[in-house]
């Protein structure tokens, strides 16, 4: 588990995605070297052969062929198109996590990473995950733009204030690896990093036990649901007419004024902070805003609770 010392010439491949990215860059490099070396060789050869004063043959050559000239550019471009498609399909996969992913919440702030596991375990700057399990991170920033970067997984994603972004991976080797902030975020940007610790399944369970969480995220969210008075209106026996939140997560919500929206994390977050933005059809826009009162971490707990209702 010691981080490598000395000169490394190739970074660890911690996932299938990492292997694929490495293949793209290696194959692409090979193609480009094949295309470029003749050009360099020709340059040097010409510079020597046709140096001023040399007796090389300089009689005018045969007529030009425009199509041949154009093909020099077009054929490499079409070949490069293959690499565009390959890299794009890998990029596409990054946006489509498996349905059974383990969800972990990430809150970034100057200059630390806070991770929250579904069971309520919290850690700072270190992320423990089980091996061979897809993990999906739901990330948000409390201040400026950060970027969560795992070199060994060849992935990074900017973490924005005001909006959730996502990142998913499936690490396939046990060990300890770097994680960094990759988007400049102020004084201690360079220190805003830590470790990704990949554990075998038993080790992960053991760690979850030791990490000492009293309550799961959803349970903590339920407590907050009462504390902030949400239950007063959204509760089952409430006299105020507000939408019942059971089963709402992941389902389409018809909106006042037409249209529907899928009730995902973004929608729930916006409904708490900006309740008048997208009002559910058939309800009055009476909910007050909780902007400035609920922290990003509490919001994630509330979302976990609402998720648990479905």
């Amino acid at each position: 588990m010691e981080p490598t010392k000395g000169v490394e010439l190739w970074p660890v491949q911690l996932s299938q995605h990492a292997q694929q990215v490495d293949w793209v860059i290696l194959a692409f490099t090979a193609l480009l070297v094949v295309l470029v070396l003749p050009v360099f060789a020709a340059m040097i050869y010409f510079a020597v052969k046709y140096r001023r004063g040399s007796m090389a043959d300089r009689s005018p050559s045969a007529s030009r062929n425009v199509w041949l000239e154009a093909s020099w550019s077009v054929i490499p471009f079409l070949l490069a198109g293959v690499f565009f498609a390959w890299a794009a399909s890998l990029y596409f996969d990054l946006f489509h996590p498996p349905a059974d992913s383990l969800g972990i919440d990430v809150v970034a702030k100057q200059w630390m990473w806070k991770f929250e596991h579904p069971g309520g375990q919290r850690e700072i700057d270190t992320l423990h995950v089980p091996v061979n399990t897809p993990v999906e991170l739901t990330m948000i920033s409390e201040d400026v733009i950060h970027s969560l970067y795992f070199p060994a997984l060849r992935i990074k994603q900017d973490v924005l204030p005001g909006r959730y972004t996502r990142l998913w991976f499936k690490a396939d080797k046990v060990g300890e690896y770097h994680l960094h902030c990759a988007e400049f975020c102020g004084t201690d940007h360079a220190r805003m990093g830590g470790s990704l610790i990949v554990l075998d399944p038993e080790g992960y369970q053991r760690w979850l036990g030791q990490a000492g969480a009293d309550t799961s995220l959803a349970a903590a969210g339920e407590a907050l649901f009462r504390k902030y008075g949400c239950s007063g209106c959204h509760g089952a026996n409430s006299s105020v007419r507000a939408p019942n939140l059971a089963g709402v997560y992941g389902s389409p919500v018809p909106l006042d004024g037409g249209g529907t929206v899928i009730a995902d994390e973004r929608y729930i977050r916006d409904s708490v902070l900006f309740p008048k933005k997208q009002v559910a059809a058939g309800y009055k826009p009476i909910m007050p805003t909780f902007q400035g009162q609920v922290s990003e971490e509490d919001l994630l707990k509330l979302i976990a609770y609402i998720k648990s209702l479905s």
Binding site: F46, R52, D57, S61, Y91, Y149, P161, E183, F184, A190
Partner: protein, 544 residues
């Protein structure tokens, strides 16, 4: 040719048209303004270089050798701001473009000489704000000024820096406008579009970018200033604003800005390759139109800076494929330069060494550009040293090589004196070697996962960082050589004569340095560009 030069000698050269400071500071002669620009951008280059030196020294040890975290952040920011806006953007266009475009098209001056002088003053005025930000305590946002850090969180002198950049933008706009009008309206009789040197074509394309992109930078800087200074939040996430809006506006300028830096250098290299192989450029119209293609496509790819920013996946794909397209006109240029060498009369004088160096480094920079345009690869390497290395291959490797090549090639025209050839070749070799030692290790560092803008880093990256810093020290010395021997040559250099290289082009038909009005009378052009003899006789015409 000699008779024209003799007639031109009747009028004093532009250098002798007046000796007072006033005659320089109030001049409207494009050649004198070019010299003013040259002196200023040289000063900015060494200032930005000093900041780079601080950065590289600091990175010798993993914990940061000399600077605090804040000090380091300010050093790389000021390095970026000065190098981008006060060196690279004005470098070739405002010095060599200014000096040469009227000479190359057979005009007496640029279309708006007073606007030209004003643009230099505007640049100096803008620079004074940015310098103020520097001495008042620095600015730490990075040259990209990303919101909300720049608008709501940074405690440094963001406003002064932004005002400086904003003002200098008007200098760019004025220069671009002047070039466009000049190239359209002041070409000598017979100087048709397809007789223009490629240098003029690339400057035309550059000017298009200057006038179309710079205003968008201006507005995005105004919006930051309004948010930071007046509390008029337009990007503020707390109000529902989207920080990505700033990034879109910023890169709409800043990606094309890279082509402001590289296109003029491509023009220079075309002149050098033709002059030192005594050949017409291979595929003139391809090379000419590829400049316009690069300028136009350059506006359609900005989103490739934002693949991991939270931009829509589909937008990412569109920007990626458009970025691949730019490889086509770039490749055309490289192939055609190489083909121009074929059956030429090649002399490896200093300018040609820089030109060949340019081609090599540009190819490496361009190819790594294809890597970072590939979506999944970019996800890994963006915001790492891989990207730092990539854009330094383009912006320093290629553009500064082009600038130095131009400086040596046209030095006899500008000053009337030759530089010392031996020193020129030695320093060209040192620049090439130092540059590669500095920046090649950074590709590896980046792929290994070292993020950029880090003042401290994991210890396993130290060896590569030390290599890079060692290369930087060689590069620093190599950049100082020309500074000294060119100054030396002003007094002791060999007298150049009108056309020391035996080159084609109108600028070589007038005396060196040219008279105040460039030509004794407006030339009438009857020859194609690069009118070198097509088939030479075994090439026994080595110049002295």
């Amino acid at each position: 040719m000699t008779s024209i030069a003799a007639e031109a000698a009747a009028e004093p050269s532009y250098l002798k048209a007046g000796y007072t400071l006033r005659s320089w500071l109030l001049t409207t002669d494009h050649k004198r303004i070019a010299v003013l620009y040259m002196i200023s951008v040289t000063a900015f280059f060494f200032l930005g270089g000093a900041a780079a030196a601080a950065v590289r020294i600091n990175l010798i040890t993993p914990e940061g050798a000399i600077l605090t975290a804040d000090g380091y952040n300010k050093a790389f920011t000021i390095h970026g701001v000065i190098m981008v806006w006060f060196f690279l953007i004005p470098s070739i266009p405002a010095t060599f473009g200014n000096f040469l475009i009227p000479l190359m098209i057979g005009a007496r001056d640029l279309a708006f000489p007073r606007l030209n002088l004003a643009s230099w003053y505007i640049l100096m005025f803008g620079a004074s704000f940015t310098m103020y930000a520097l001495v008042a305590g620095g600015v730490d946002t990075g040259w990209t000024f990303y919101t909300p850090y720049s608008s709501m969180f940074s405690n440094s002198h963001v406003i002064a820096a932004i005002i400086g950049v904003f003002i200098s933008g008007f200098s760019s706009i004025a220069t671009g406008l002047n070039f466009i009008v000049t190239i359209h309206k002041l070409r000598a009789p017979g100087m048709t579009w397809f007789r223009l040197p490629i240098f003029v074509w690339t400057h035309y394309a550059t000017s298009l970018i200057l006038v179309l992109a710079t205003p968008v930078l201006a507005i995005s800087l105004i919006l930051i200033a309004a948010e930071r200074l007046l509390g008029i939040g337009v990007f503020d996430p707390a109000l529902g604003g989207d920080p990505l809006l700033f990034q879109h506006l910023f890169w709409f300028y800043s990606h094309p800005a890279v082509y402001i830096m590289i296109l003029p250098a491509m023009g220079v290299v075309t002149e050098l390759v033709t002059a030192f192989s005594r050949r017409r450029i291979f595929g003139y119209s391809f090379v000419a139109f590829s400049s316009l293609a690069i300028a136009t496509l350059g506006f359609m790819v900005w989103g490739h800076h934002m693949f991991v920013s939270g931009q829509s996946m589909y937008a990412g794909m569109v920007f990626s494929i458009l970025s691949f397209l730019i490889a086509v006109p770039s490749a055309i240029k490289v192939y055609n330069w190489t083909a121009t060498l074929y059956k030429g009369q090649i002399a490896l004088d200093t300018p040609m060494l820089y030109a060949m160096g340019f081609i090599g480094l540009f190819v490496v920079g361009g190819i790594t550009g294809l890597f970072v345009a590939s979506l999944a690869v970019d996800v890994h390497v963006t915001d790492t040293y891989f990207v730092v290395a990539h854009f330094h291959y383009i912006m320093v490797g290629a553009t500064v090589m082009g600038y130095l090549g131009a400086l040596h090639y046209w030095w006899p025209k500008i000053t009337g004196r030759m530089y010392p050839e031996w020193w020129g070749r030695i320093s060209a070799a040192f620049v090439f070697f130092g540059f590669n030692l500095t920046f090649f290790p950074q590709f590896i560092l980046g792929y290994l996962g070292m993020p950029r803008r880090y003042f401290t880093y994991p210890p396993e990256f130290q060896v590569l960082n030390v290599m890079s810093s060692a290369g930087a020290s060689i590069l620093a010395v190599a950049y100082l050589f020309p500074f000294f021997y060119l100054l030396w040559s002003l007094r002791y250099g060999k007298i150049a004569g009108p056309n020391p290289w035996g080159a084609a082009g109108l600028e070589w038909t007038t005396s060196s340095p040219p008279p105040k009005h460039n030509f004794p009378e407006i030339p009438v052009v009857t020859a194609e560009a690069y009118a070198y003899p097509v088939a030479a006789d075994g090439g026994a015409t080595h110049h002295g």
